[in-house]
């Protein structure tokens, strides 16, 4: 440090030193501002108790009649459980050409449900009952030939909000605003009649 004389002469300003100091101060401040934003932004994530409330849901399948659907909640989402009859299952293979994603390649489901019936057991269909378009509840339109849904309707689901149509495996029809099939949650079975929603089936041993 040089000594300054005690008079009114102003020492020459070192411009590059000033620029560096301004940039360093602004930069440090900006980093600090971003880091300070982290807790505020993160506070919007689900709380511990919200996460804990996402426990598995158990369903007694013996209480659902063949050809009927029952609904349950898992993680605040409505879960559709349909006991499909052989007649219902027979409809599935007849309209692949009208589907956006017949083989569920682009859709979201556990590997064990990525098959023609989109199920572990063909007769039990488990779906997240949230339209993959914008989250309404698709309504059941199980009666085949219901012309109010569309011509040659094989039976399935119809979303009242924006008109998406899904078949009895939750696969989306062409002409729907939804682009992918209804999601399938992780699920597994304990014994013949107990369905566990939220717990994955073991990797193999289930046909």
């Amino acid at each position: 440090m040089s000594d300054h004389a005690a008079d009114d002469t102003v020492p020459e300003v070192d411009e590059s030193r000033r620029k560096f100091l301004i940039a360093a101060t602004a930069g440090t401040g900006a980093v600090g501002a971003v880091l300070t934003a982290v807790p505020f932004v993160a506070s919007w994530n689900p709380s511990e108790s919200a996460r804990a409330a996402g426990l598995p849901t158990e369903v007694d399948l013996s209480k659902i009649e063949p050809g009927q659907m029952a609904t349950f909640f898992w993680r605040k989402q409505q879960i559709y459980v349909v006991k499909r009859t052989p007649e219902m299952l027979a409809t599935l293979s007849a309209h692949d050409g009208q589907l956006k994603d017949a083989k569920s390649e682009k859709s979201d489901q556990p590997v064990y449900a990525k098959n023609d019936q989109r199920a572990i057991k063909p007769e039990v269909l488990v779906l997240i009952g949230t339209c993959t378009h914008l989250g309404c509840l698709p309504k059941t339109r199980f009666t085949p030939g219901d012309a109010s849904v569309m011509a040659n309707w094989p039976g399935g689901f119809f979303c009242p909000c924006h008109g998406s149509k899904f078949d009895l495996a939750g696969r989306v029809f062409e002409g729907s605003p939804a682009s992918v099939n209804l999601k399938i949650p992780p699920y597994s079975f304990e014994g013949d009649n107990k369905l566990i929603i939220g717990v994955d089936a073991p990797a193999k041993g289930v046909a």
Binding site: W44, N45, P46, S47, A50, G54, T71, F73, R75, K76, Q77, Q78, T132, H133, L134, G135, C136, L137, K139, P160, C161, H162, G163, G175, S176, P177, A178, S179, V180
Partner: protein, 414 residues
Amino acid sequence: MSATMDKNEGGFRAWLNKRLPVDQFMADQLTGYYAPKNFNIWYFFGSLALLVFVMQIVTGIFVTMHFKAGEATAWNSVQYMVREVPYMWLIQPMHAVGASFFFIVVYLHMARAFMYGSYKGPRELLWVIGMLIYLALMAEAFMGYVLPYGNMSYWGAQVIINLFGTIPGIGPDLVEWIRGDYGIGDATLTRFFSLHVIALPFIIALLVLLHLVALRQVGSNNPDGIEIKENLGADGKPKDGIPFHPYYTLKDIVGVGLFLTLFAIVVFFVPTFGGLFMEAPNFEPANPSSTPEHIAPVWYFTPYYAILRAVPDQKLGALLMALSVAAFLFVPWLDRAKNKSIRYRGLASKLLLAVFFITFLMLMWLGLKPADGIYVLLARIFTVLYFAFFILLPFVSKADGNGPVPDRVTYDAH
């Protein structure tokens, strides 16, 4: 005695002005602010928008006193305030109906800008700030609609929040972050409440201030679209201008009187406005197991909602919807006419604007209708027309917006 007089020379007013420039502010902003003398009925809606904003703040303060945000409490607290708290049967509907009136006024204010080219230079930024107010207002209105937690609140929120899920990559996580849960719940309502009563009103107030500051800088446009500042009198004031106060403040009071009369009629006699201002499903509590037969947002969002539904692809639909709102921001640069006002543009420009206004109203109507049959087809046709306006605007405006304009504003003495 004389010493006291010295201290208070000029009395209280002088004392005050020395410390707070009240008279100076009045002179700068009101009596010394010259506005074009040819304003017509379309120039009521700016001051009316400010009036509704203040009304919403005041009624909102009182609604907040009784409202309890939360899944279990929100619906009941609204029912309680309306049924049991003295005069809240009046104040709560004033707030709810006020939202619709806010949008009526804002849409008319925007229509005015379209007709007279008020967004054109040097007022581009004035328009952009106005559009930001419109965006903030949409967020504010959406959250306000969710808070009473009726069934349409719930399902409307479900649909709108899920729109963010269509953003590639971050979508699903973003949706969870917005809701603060795996579904809409307490966390969602309490944060919406905070944003609705604190954050967004603050932001809107700030933007309104900026809007007014920018307006003072560039001056008001007028139905002839002529810059009055280019024609000054010997006193340096615009020849075609008159002081905002007292002339336009008095004119605006007439508008305020008419507006409040209409507002009172609706609040007292038709608060739901046939299901348009308050929708039937919102008179039952939120029910996650039952989607209403037809989900439609409140009327002021339906033009964009119709566009969303018209597209048979989820991501493209959401994208076009966002684009349909964002397109307004670019209008100042899409309009390449020399003249501002529609009065001095050709037939093609007039037709283009008329078709756009009709398209907007048709989409508004279609968004309220179920998404099936002829409605889908119509929504697709009008979606195409909607975007056609923005695509054709540069060409049409350049071709026929350059005719002669008068030197001075035109008006009938009244």
